[in-house]
Symmetry: C3
Subunit: 138 residues, 3 copies
């Protein structure tokens, strides 16, 4: 059985993190599947998905790493092409990745207690982020 | 329904990027599945897959980041083992990752307009890269 | 058909790497599925999964990169919250990612000869790491 759902999340721009765990868990539960694979993906090339302990400290540390790896206000070749200012966003998103597939069992995602699925906005401006949650199972 | 297909891509060595979106989309369409999950993986430990806006600027920026993280011409412990020169390739590939799973619906991959699936060659020499595209759906 | 199995791996703390390839391959073989998708995920937010040529040199190089990106003994905002000392662990794990989905065919994982599935412990202390291996196929 396959259920594919769309959801949108409004973000506040670069570094804004949203905990998607409850939303994904609800879609898994509503699918009626007992066990299977839940895939979350973000549509667009300037946001990313991963898991983290979603408390402000660890989130700030992760953003600090991304700021060091791809500072916002330095020259990027991407800027010369379109007049954009979000070269840092593209390389951050490509590095972290756009999707995540996680098993579930008994209708529940298998995650640690302090492990949350997050969307990390990498773009330099607020965005409405379309997400896809796909549940495949039996 | 599951369809597993092999494809090879000839690369030009470190930093060479290939847009796989059309190829993956064609395999999804040919599978006859309406909705499901498409997984792309690269066989080998010195290439990686992700999504990016596949225009030369963003690609150059991403390669610039990888060059900074894992410069090619510095010592690597891997070189001492085999006499290889591709330590930078192994750590880049392990960091970015070897596979990508993305949902599709109505026989079409769900991606942003400026979001492409790419193979990034990390090895120091041209390679023929075997890829696997697996479509699982109904 | 879906088979979801749990396995635990005892790790020695930050930088300890375990080759999971044989274990995942055995679970794929035991599932009786010919072709499909194998997903491995780690429960917890301070360990990660990827593929690499699992020889001591390349592993040391990868750990060297992670040590540079997220040194262990510098201040992290996460430390101020819980009195933890593993801020470096959280950002490493979030960057590399908690799960991996790979196709199999003829009951065998499709991987390169020198490409292994690894668990990389990012936490600062030894952990018993619960893993999930899910086989979905036919």
């Amino acid at each position: 059985m396959i259920a594919t759902r769309r959801q949108a999340v409004d973000t506040a721009g670069q570094g804004d993190v949203h905990d998607l765990t409850e939303m994904v868990g609800r879609i898994v539960a509503e699918s009626g599947c007992g066990s299977g694979l839940a895939t979350v993906s973000v549509i667009g090339s300037t946001a990313a998905l991963t898991t983290i302990e979603c408390e402000p400290g660890a989130v700030a540390d992760f953003n600090g790493l991304l700021d060091t790896l791809a500072p916002r206000d330095v020259p990027y070749a991407h800027h010369e092409r379109w007049g954009d200012d979000n070269g840092s966003s593209h390389v951050r998103a490509a590095l972290v990745g756009p999707s995540l597939s996680l098993p579930f069992e008994d209708g529940r995602l298998i995650l640690g207690t302090w492990q949350q699925i997050i969307l990390i906005e990498c773009d330099t401006r607020p965005r409405q982020r379309p997400l896809v949650v796909q549940v495949m199972g039996e």
